[in-house]
Amino acid sequence: MARQEILIVEDDENVAQLLAFLFDREGFSPVVLRDGRAAEDHVRNAPPPAAAVLDVMLPYRDGFAVAAAIRADPRWGNVPVVMLTARSLGADVDRGIALGVNEYVLKPFQPHALAARVKALVRGPAAGKESLGLRRS
């Protein structure tokens, strides 16, 4: 069976490679991008993945802009989105919820827990969408 794709957008090299390694191990095919602009281009041009993991602080466009682009795109609209961030400002969380982000994970994160969350969302996006809000994984 073909591997499902996971989009990872992260500018920290270590974290980006860690996430790629993690999801590869979990049986996915990770696509790693390093900045918000490349991510937006990707959303426009490529087929949607099974899920997207976005860092908030990215060069050129932040994670929220990318999330908004995902939700606005007709093909990508239902892709489960997990935001990964070191900031826990209330305003950020609200913004994420307003954009339809499925999960919000704080850095530093627990790799296995993150993978489990993403897998759950991939299996059942409807179930995932109900669990909005801040999670310490």
Binding site: Q17, L18, F21, P108, P111, H112
Partner: protein, 351 residues
């Protein structure tokens, strides 16, 4: 042709020219050499990272990868990678990185670095020992608190908090009070992870010995203490201190309605910095009756007092915008009215 004075001049000029051009060539050569060395180093660093990243990832995720050899010259690069991964994850990931460290004998590598003359080495050593968390290393790390370089003291403080969250406040707080060049903001973040009870207790016992300047500097720490403990400290300062700076700094930390009474009293203080903070405080925790107090502050001579008072009133806790406007109008003061308009517009824009 040349006069008698020309010869020595020409000699000197030639000498200077020769030395200068020679020096230029030597410097240019050195630049090229350094560049090549730098490129070679960068290549090597990349190799180390490429080799070790998958190994550490595998280890963090529960595997048991075979550990490649770690020659001495790669140690710094490895330590940096190891520490950065520690920063990135929590929970079992960290513990497993610790296991890899043990297998590699990283503790000795880290300890060896504490004695080095270059700051980068010491920094890596401190951070590593912090993450390894062995009580036996506490003493050694605590010594680095007295390093002249502030960020090394900061790294030492952070490491101490990891190794022993209960003892760390006792070593860090007194120094924080005594060293004016330590940035409180950064140390506060570090201390936030220490044992809250110990931290609060230490702060309380330290507080009477602090001068007003020290107190003002250290007060931001209250934001990382647990709320009750912080309240007690702030309360005692609001009652007891005569220093305007201290009062203003303490008012900034007021978060509980229990401290409304002193805030109210200080709204009439002679120093405008105190009045400003009192207005902000009342905005946060004031009772509805404090509306009048805040309204009167709209007519204060000082811009900042008026601004904060207007912000407090516009926060919604003291009535609708129309009521607030009416309050300002009733004062008959043009500045008050302008200020309220500005603040309401700000609130509107933020919405």
């Amino acid at each position: 042709m040349g006069s008698a004075g020309a010869e020595p001049f020409v000699q000197l000029a030639w000498t200077v020219a020769a030395i200068a051009l020679g020096a230029t060539a030597a410097l240019a050569l050195r630049v090229v050499v350094l560049r090549r060395a730098g490129l070679a180093q960068a290549r090597r660093r990349e190799e180390v990272l490429t080799r070790w990243r998958p190994v550490l990832f595998e280890g963090m995720l529960g595997g048991h990868p075979k550990l490649p050899p770690l020659p001495r010259r790669d140690e710094d690069t490895f330590l940096l990678l190891w520490n950065q991964l520690q920063d990135a994850v929590r929970g079992e990931g960290r513990a497993r990185l610790g296991a890899v460290a043990e297998a590699l004998g990283l503790r000795d590598v880290a300890r060896a670095r504490l004695g080095r003359s270059d700051a980068l080495g010491r920094l890596l050593g401190l951070r590593t020992l912090g993450f390894l968390g062995l009580p036996a290393d506490y003493e050694e790390v605590a010594r680095a608190l007295d390093d002249r370089k502030v960020y090394l003291s900061l790294a030492a403080a952070r490491a101490l908090v990891f190794i022993d969250p209960r003892s760390a406040p006792g070593d860090v707080l007194p120094r924080l009070a005594m060293r004016p060049e330590w940035p409180v903001a950064l140390f506060a973040t570090v201390l936030a992870a220490a044992d809250p009870g110990e931290l609060a207790a230490r702060f309380r016992s330290l507080e009477p010995q602090l001068s007003p300047e020290q107190l003002v500097r250290l007060l931001p720490l209250v934001s990382v203490l647990e709320p009750r403990a912080g309240e007690v400290i702030v309360g005692s300062l609001l009652e007891g201190s005569g220093d305007a700076e201290v009062l203003a700094a303490a008012l900034k930390r007021v978060r509980s309605p229990a401290l409304a009474a002193p805030a109210r009293r200080l709204a009439r203080h002679e120093a405008w910095s105190v009045r400003t903070q009192a207005a902000s405080a009342l905005g946060r925790i004031g009772a509805p009756e404090d509306r009048e107090v805040l309204a009167s502050m709209l007519a204060d001579r000082q811009w900042w007092v008026r601004y904060r008072a207007a912000q407090a009133l516009a926060s919604g806790r003291f009535g609708e915008p129309s009521e607030v406007r009416a309050l300002a109008a009733a004062l008959g003061d043009r500045f008050a009215r302008d200020m309220v308009e500005q603040v309401l517009a700000e609130e509107g824009a933020a919405a």
